[in-house]
Every structure is written in C-alpha cells, then in structure tokens.
C-alpha cells in the first residue's frame, strides 16, 4: 500500500443525505415507487436536488408526518396504511414500493420493517414492499443506494449458476457497453443489480462473482458475501486505468487470460488515450481539492492524478471503507492526503490556504467559491452522468476541464477570431 495519509474530521457538514439517491434509483427501475416517510424538509430536499417539476407525477413522494402522527405511533401506522392504499389505487402499475425511512421517522422509531411485512401479506402477488433508511443521521448521499440494494437482497432467489454480477447503478448505455465487452471476453452470463425492472432480480449464490461498479456499497457487499457471493477485488471502472484493472480482475475470476483482455480492450484504450489528450492539456499540473460528498472522490482523485496529471491537495470522502477501497488506494500517489468526514469551515479554510485550481464540491458551495475566484465542479454531476468505462474516460475528464476552460475563455483579454 502506498504511503497515503489518513485523517478523520468531525464537525458541521455540507453534504446531501441518502434520500438524494432516489433521484437516480427511480430512473433505473421504472416499475418502482419510492415513498419517503418523513417531513416537509425531506420532500423539499428531493424536489430541490432533482428539479422534479418536469414530471406530471413522479415515481417518488413523501408521506409527510404531521403533529397528530407524532402524538401516537399507532395512529401513524394507520395513517401510513391509508396513504399507501391511496397510492396503490392511484398507481396500479407500481410493482415494488420502497418505504424509505428518514431522520424524523428514525427518531420516532417508526417501524417500517413491520409495516412492509404486513403490506407484503396484504398485497401479495400485486406489489412488493421493501424498506430501508435514507436518513441523514445514518447515510450520506450515495449511501442511500447502498441501503436500497441491501434491502432487495433478501428477495433474491438462490442459484448456483456461474455468473458475473455487476453491482451498482450504471447509465443504461454504459451497462450495455460493459456487457458487450464481457461477452467478447467470453463471459456470457452477466446480470446487473439493481436490474432495469425491480421484479427481475438476479438469482445469487456461491458461483456468483460480484464486480462492483460503484465504490459506495459497503453494506450491500457484506450481505452479498453472506449469501455466498464472491467479491472480485478491483479498482472502480473510472478512467482508462481503473476500467482496465476492473476488466482484468473480472477476467481473472473467470480464468480468462490477460492477453485476451488486452486484445479486446487495447483498441478502446488507444482511442480513449487520444480523446483524453486535449483534456489532459488543460488539467496537467493543476491543483485539485476534492470535498467529500459522493464517495467517488478517491477513484476520481486516482484518475485525475494518474491519467490527467493533476496534483492532489486533499481528497475528502464522507466515509471510508479501507477494505473496499484497497485497490484504489494502492494506485494513489504517495503522500496523498485523504480526509474522512468533514468540518466544512476548517476544510474551506484549507481550500483558501492551498490556492487550488479546481475544487470538487456540492452545489451549496460552488457559487460562493466561484465568487472568491476559485473554479469548481459540482460533484452531483458525477452521479447523473455516464462516466464509467474506457469509452467515457474523456467525457469524465471533460467534466473537470470544462470549468477551467471556461474560466480561461472568460478571463481572456484578447478576442480570438478565426
């Protein structure tokens, strides 16, 4: 392991809670509905993060707790029942209903597991109920997906069939690309979790080889292990290097030769390197500061340093699972400073002192930093854009080069004409 410097920090934070992940999860599974049991704050958070207005009726909503629901839990359960009955009557196409716990529902100890169990009996054969917590007292941003996937594992049937299971939400087009490449490698039985339809859950067992596409799935990984699945240890498929290692690790697990992998992906790599060149030109030697939010920070830092030659000042992450991130950390340059957790004020002090060229941060901080003359990239875009795989490496770099390029254009003193 490289000599990476680990730090922990606590204090006031500036991050989203796990509820935010509903924004991409509901798109992944169009037959599912996500019902948050929470407050007006929860409803306001999701609509503010997602820009919900474009939908006539979105496939997520909030059962907002009111005074009378807090007075007695029995009544709250009854009320929730009523809301769910109405919802199912209104949206008969829903196949899976996720009951999502929030900060207030956790604090008043609303037992969503029992609620889900009862509802599963009542709506047997029509709708399945699953519960997990997206609360901000337990989860940060992407951890919401971890909770949702973990909650689905008990519903997955067992099978000893050998298969490759890609775990973590991917953009559909990226998923298709990956599957094609794996098939070319000779792996034919490939499934994804979460699936595109909530009812088409993959079967799992001791011959399931799990390849993670996202770094924030600690709990899901633990439960998949309990079901006998083998976890393929690999860096994450961001950038050329990460994706190559990722394919190699999968191939090794299926006893496919390295040579075969290189044969198939080297044209992709050559073309990606070419595409990356213009972005590298801009990013090279620039100082990067990553604030914690998505848990993608370590993989991004590795990509931006190793392939785009940026200098890493600090790599923040809301939560660090060293075991899961082992392969990534191995690829980081020596003396990389990783900070787990956050004290947003102290961290912003360090941002200002270190005079970075680019800061990756949340939407609440981006414009204030820009106003101070510091270029930023909002981290939420990483979870909404197709950034995985060799073919997307240049697009991923583009997310970071664009703010710098724009800054150059806007501060340029001469009018460029052609």
């Amino acid at each position: 392991m490289s000599k990476v410097e680990f730090n922990k920090e606590t204090g006031p934070r500036e991050v989203f809670c796990g509820l935010t992940s509903i924004v991409w999860l509901h798109r992944r599974m169009p037959d599912a509905f996500f019902l948050v049991v929470g407050s007006r704050t929860c409803a306001h958070l999701i609509q503010s993060a997602a820009g919900v207005m474009i939908f006539a009726e979105p496939r997520f909503g909030t059962a907002i707790l009111e005074e009378k629901d807090l007075a007695g839990l029995a009544d709250a359960h009854e009320e929730l029942d009523r809301v769910i009955n109405d919802l199912i009557a209104r949206r008969p196409e829903i196949k899976t209903l996720f009951l999502v716990g929030s900060c207030p529902s956790e604090v008043i100890k609303l037992d969503l597991a029992t609620v889900a169990e009862k509802l599963n009996k009542r709506f047997f054969g029509q709708v399945r109920f699953v519960n997990y917590s997206g609360s901000g007292i337990e989860t940060t941003f992407t951890q919401g997906e971890d909770g949702a996937l973990k909650a689905l594992i008990p519903l997955m049937e067992s099978s000893n069939e050998e298969k490759l299971l890609l775990v973590g939400t991917l953009a559909n087009n990226v998923e298709d690309r990956f599957k094609k490449i794996f098939r070319n490698l000779g792996i034919s039985n490939i499934e994804s979790f979460p699936p595109r339809q909530s009812t088409e859950l993959p079967k799992i067992g001791k011959n399931t080889k799990v390849l993670l596409t996202q770094p924030y799935l600690s709990d899901t990984v633990r439960d998949l292990k309990h079901r006998g699945c083998k976890i393929i240890s690999a860096p994450f498929p961001l950038g050329i290097e990460g994706s190559t290692e990722w394919f190699l690790a999968a191939a090794k697990a299926f006893k496919i030769s390295e040579l075969k992998v290189h044969e198939i992906i080297s044209p992709l790599i050559n073309r990606a390197k070419l595409a990356l060149e213009s972005h590298k030109e801009i990013l090279k030697g620039k100082k990067l500061f990553l604030l914690p939010e998505s848990q993608l920070e370590i993989s991004l830092a590795r990509f931006l340093h190793n392939e785009c030659e940026m200098d890493l000042i600090e790599v923040g992450t809301p939560y660090l699972n060293k075991e899961l991130m082992k392969e990534e950390i191995n690829l980081l340059p020596d003396n990389t400073k990783i900070v787990e957790g956050q004290h947003v004020e102290k961290q912003l002090d360090r941002v200002r002192e270190s005079n970075p060229d680019l800061v990756v941060c949340g939407m609440g901080l981006a414009n204030p930093l820009e106003a101070e003359g510091i270029s930023t990239k909002w981290s939420i875009e990483m979870v909404f854009s197709p950034i995985h795989g060799i073919d997307q490496a240049a697009d991923l770099a583009g997310l970071f080069s664009k703010p710098l390029k724009r800054n150059q254009i806007l501060t340029s003193k001469t009018l460029v004409t052609h």
Partner: protein
C-alpha cells in the same frame, strides 16, 4: 400524514434561512442533521448568490443521539460565534431536532454571550416556509426593539412636520427567494422618493440588526409583502403606534391607491396626481387597438396570496381578461383570496396539491395561465400559454435584467410577460382569416411552439370525464370536421359544451349543425 409529490413551500426553518440570508451581521445556528444543508443550494444556485447562507448546521448523527446532543449544539454555537462574530444570533432547529428537544435557543442564552439571541421555535410538523420567515422576522424585530417599548412615545405619522424634514418610511418584507423582491424595492423607493418620502430602512433584505433597531426612526411602515412582514408591522403598530400600509402596489390601480394611502397616512399633499396616470405604458398599451383581442381572454390564476390577488385585479380591470379560476397555496392568505374570488363569482382553490391545481386548470379551459413554475409545467403539458407570477423560485425568476412586479415599471413588465405568451391581436386575426387555406396546418400555434392536441386526439380522447359525458353520443363526420375549424385554444371548451348540449337535448349524433345549436344555446 399527507402524501406529497411536490410542495409549493419548504419547511419553516427554510423561511428562517431566508431572513438570515437576506440580512447582514446575522448568523443562524440550526440544530439539524447533515441532509438539511441542501437548503444552501436554494440560495447559491437559484438566487446565484456568491455567499453561503450564514448558517451553521450542528450535523448530529444517529450515534450522537444516545449521547449528549446538547453538548454538540453548544460546541457549534461557540465555534460559529467565534468564527462569524454576528451582531445577533438566531438559534433554532429543523424537523428532526424538534423531536429530540434539546432546546438550543435556551442553551445559547445560557452561554454568556452579550449579543442578542433570538430563540426560534418553528413547528415543523404544522407550519411552512412563509410562516417561518414571518415568525423569524417578527421574533427578530421584537427581540431587538422590545427594550425600547417602555420609554417610547406613540409614533405619530405626522411628526416629520415637527422635525422639519421629509417623511421617512420603512419598507418591510422583501427577502431572498421572494418573487422579484430585489427589483420591487428599487421601484418602490424610486416612487416614494418622487413623492417626497424618504426610505429609512429596507428589511430584511440588506438590513443589519442595527437597522432593525432604527426602524422606529420612521413615521410609518410599508408592508410590501404581508406574508413576511404583516406580523412585524402589527407588532410595531401595537407597541410603537406605527401605522402601516395595506395596499400592495402591483398594477396601475393598486400603485396609485398605494401612493394615495401613503400620502393620506402621512398627511402629505399629493401634488402630481394627474401625472400618475401616465407613469406606466400599461394603460395605453391595454387601450391601443391591437389589445382589443385581449377582451374576455380566459385566465386561470394560482400563486401565493399577494401575487394571486393582485393578478386577479390587473387581469380583470386593467387588461380586460375574464378570470376563470383563482387560487393560492398560502393558507395564511386563504380568507383574502376567497373574498377576491367571491367578487369574481368564483370559488377559490386553496391547496398545496399541484395535481388539484392542474385538474382545476383543465376544467376551467383557460387561454392563459398565471401561476408558479409548477403551473408553467402543467400548462405546457396542456398546451396553454403561461406566465409565472409567484414563488416558489426557479432560477428563471431571478432575471439578470431589471424586472420588478411593483410600481410603474412592474406594470410594464407584467403587460409584456402576460401578453407575449399569447398571440398578438393582428396575428390572431390573420390566422383566423387564413386558416382554411391549404398551406395552413391544423394545430398551428404560432411561436408558442408546442404540438398540444391534434383534433383527432381530442375527439377520440377517452379520458374519464368526457367518457361520462359522451355516453351514447357519436360525433358524425360533419361534426368532427366543424370541430377542427374551431381555434385550438377553445376547442376543448366547445367540444365539452356541445356534448353537454347534446345530452341535454337527447341528441344521439353530433353534426356540424349541433355545434352551432350548442354555440347559440350557451352564448
């Protein structure tokens, strides 16, 4: 428990953030978990603010709950005070912290600071954003001025005469995330100044705690946004005798009435009464011949209380529209909106459910919708032009250009914003003339750029309501053909009316003649 897919207003602590972020030298310690920090983006992204909201979130986690969350609150308060050195500290809690009852306000008061501390108790499970903003502004005003109550004389609105200076007023209510507040303030200050009235303090927008303490240097208060400022104005009236204005200067008539009210309260002679009629282009533009086609345009209005009421008055009295629907999501303003609706022979729609609003909109078949950004989306789906008149805020509601809603320039902006989504008079006339030419495409909708409802879809549509009405009724070839000749924006109404008429008369088949019979019957 209430199922909510989307909400017009945020929770009450977001209202408190609006007050804190609008002001200077204030800091708000909010006992809240990490996810609540999303609210910062409302200010930094939607308002494009270059500063973070002055808010510290205590960021308690599940593991803190067994231990001492009160200590965590105190630690955060101490750090925030040392770092930001506010002149006044707001302390409160969001929905989750309300449940664990640490009483952060009381904790802060016990920490020995010498700055004023405002303890905000905003019930998150029964109240909403605007209430939270109003309560915060009221508590802040009260905290900073309560010591002056006992020795202050009643403030006479006429005392400027004794002082030998121009009368001074406060402009209360403008805040961040309020609709066009930034520009309304400039417009109103300009109008007051022209009338010989000086502005003492604008608050909360741009004010410091020192400014709040100076509120009583003015003679009267201008209550510009009652949703935010009425509680404070009422308190200032009760305790200092300060009068406040009731007229909201949106539209020409209300602006003139507002100026009259200010003059009357201050006993300041109004010398330029005649000029007022010509300050805005709205009256002439509305009178000019091209605007003839605006007469009786069906308009559906939904928004916050203040803007919805003002829009109804402008629509009816200044543009000659017919108001076919009026509603608000502000429960606090329900009484006033109901009264306005009653004057228009309508029943007001008071709801926080946008799907109910969309349904009401469909039923009213308007030709123009004046609503929030959500109604803009709903009307886009329905193929109806729309202009946005109210919060909740969207990045488009913070335009780069000067674009008030109030005063003379506000009336100009309103004329353009409401009329441009419609077809111009001459344009509509020409389309009417040429619509039977073969080059003319059915469903042509000028610059509106949507392809809402093809006639065929309309006739064949099987939505629930028309199914009931249509029971046993058939549209004949000639009936369908005639229906396609009806302009798209009234086609729905004509179709429903004709079917109603057919049922009423027991006519099983609708022909072109039935259409004309129904037209005559309903006119």
């Amino acid at each position: 428990m209430e199922l909510t897919l989307w909400t017009y207003e945020g929770p009450p602590h977001v209202g408190a953030m609006r007050i804190a972020s609008s002001m200077k030298d204030i800091h708000y310690v909010l006992h809240a978990p990490q996810g609540d920090t999303y609210a910062d983006l409302l200010f930094t992204m939607i308002e494009r603010r270059g500063q973070r909201p002055p808010v510290t979130y205590t960021t308690f986690q599940a593991r803190d709950l067994g231990g001492d969350t009160a200590e965590l609150v105190k630690k955060n308060i101490k750090e925030a005070v040392e770092r930001f050195k506010p002149k006044t500290l707001l302390v409160g809690e969001s929905c989750t912290a309300e449940l664990i009852q640490d009483q952060p306000g009381a904790l802060a008061k016990g920490m020995g600071f010498d700055m004023p501390i405002v303890n905000l108790e905003l019930p998150a499970y029964s109240k909403k954003e605007n209430w939270g903003a109003s309560e915060t502004f009221y508590q802040l005003t009260r905290t900073l001025l309560k010591e002056k109550v006992s020795y202050s004389e009643k403030i006479s609105p006429l005392r400027w005469k004794e002082f030998g200076r121009r009368p001074k007023v406060n402009i209360l209510g403008p805040s961040l995330l309020g609709f066009r507040c930034r520009d309304d303030v400039i417009e109103i200050q300009r109008i007051l100044s022209e009338q010989g009235v000086d502005t003492n303090v604008v608050a909360p927008l741009g004010a410091s705690p020192d400014d709040i303490e100076r509120l009583i240097d003015a003679e009267i208060n201008i209550c510009l946004y009652p949703e935010i400022a009425e509680a404070s104005c009422e308190w200032l009236k009760r305790n200092f005798g300060m009068e406040y204005t009731n007229t909201i200067p949106i539209g020409i008539k209300n602006t003139i009435e507002f100026i009259n009210e200010v003059h009357k309260k201050l006993d300041l002679p109004l010398t330029n009464k005649k000029e007022l009629e010509n300050k805005s282009k709205l009256p002439w533009y509305s009178k000019s011949v091209d605007s003839n086609y605006l007469t009786g345009k069906r308009v559906f209005i939904f928004g916050d209380g203040t803007h919805a009421i003002a829009a109804a008055k402008i629509a009816k009295e200044e543009l000659g529209f017919e108001v076919v629907g009026l509603g608000t999501y502000s429960r606090e303003m329900a009484r006033q909106v109901r009264a306005t609706a009653k004057d228009l022979n309508l029943e007001a729609l008071i709801t926080n459910n946008y799907l109910e609003v969309e349904d009401a909109m469909k039923k009213a078949s308007p030709e123009l919708v004046l609503g929030t950004q959500m109604e803009r989306h709903s009307s886009k789906r329905l193929g109806i032009p729309c202009s946005v008149i109210s919060t909740p805020m969207h990045v488009q509601d913070v335009p780069a250009r000067y674009s008030p809603q109030m005063g003379w320039e506000g009336a100009n902006v309103i004329f353009d914003d409401w009329v441009h989504p419609l077809m111009m008079g001459l344009e509509e006339h020409l389309i009417d003339m040429f619509k039977h030419d073969f080059e003319f495409v059915d469903g042509h909708q000028s610059h509106l750029g949507h392809t809402a409802t093809k006639t065929e879809d309309f006739v064949n549509s099987e939505d629930k309501e028309s199914k009931n009405i249509k029971e046993g009724i058939i549209w004949t070839e000639s009936g369908r053909a005639e229906l396609t000749k009806v302009p798209f924006f009234v086609r729905g109404k004509v179709k429903t009316n004709t079917e109603k008429y057919a049922i009423l008369r027991g006519i099983p088949e609708i022909s072109d003649e039935t259409l004309y019979d129904a037209k005559a019957y309903f006119s």
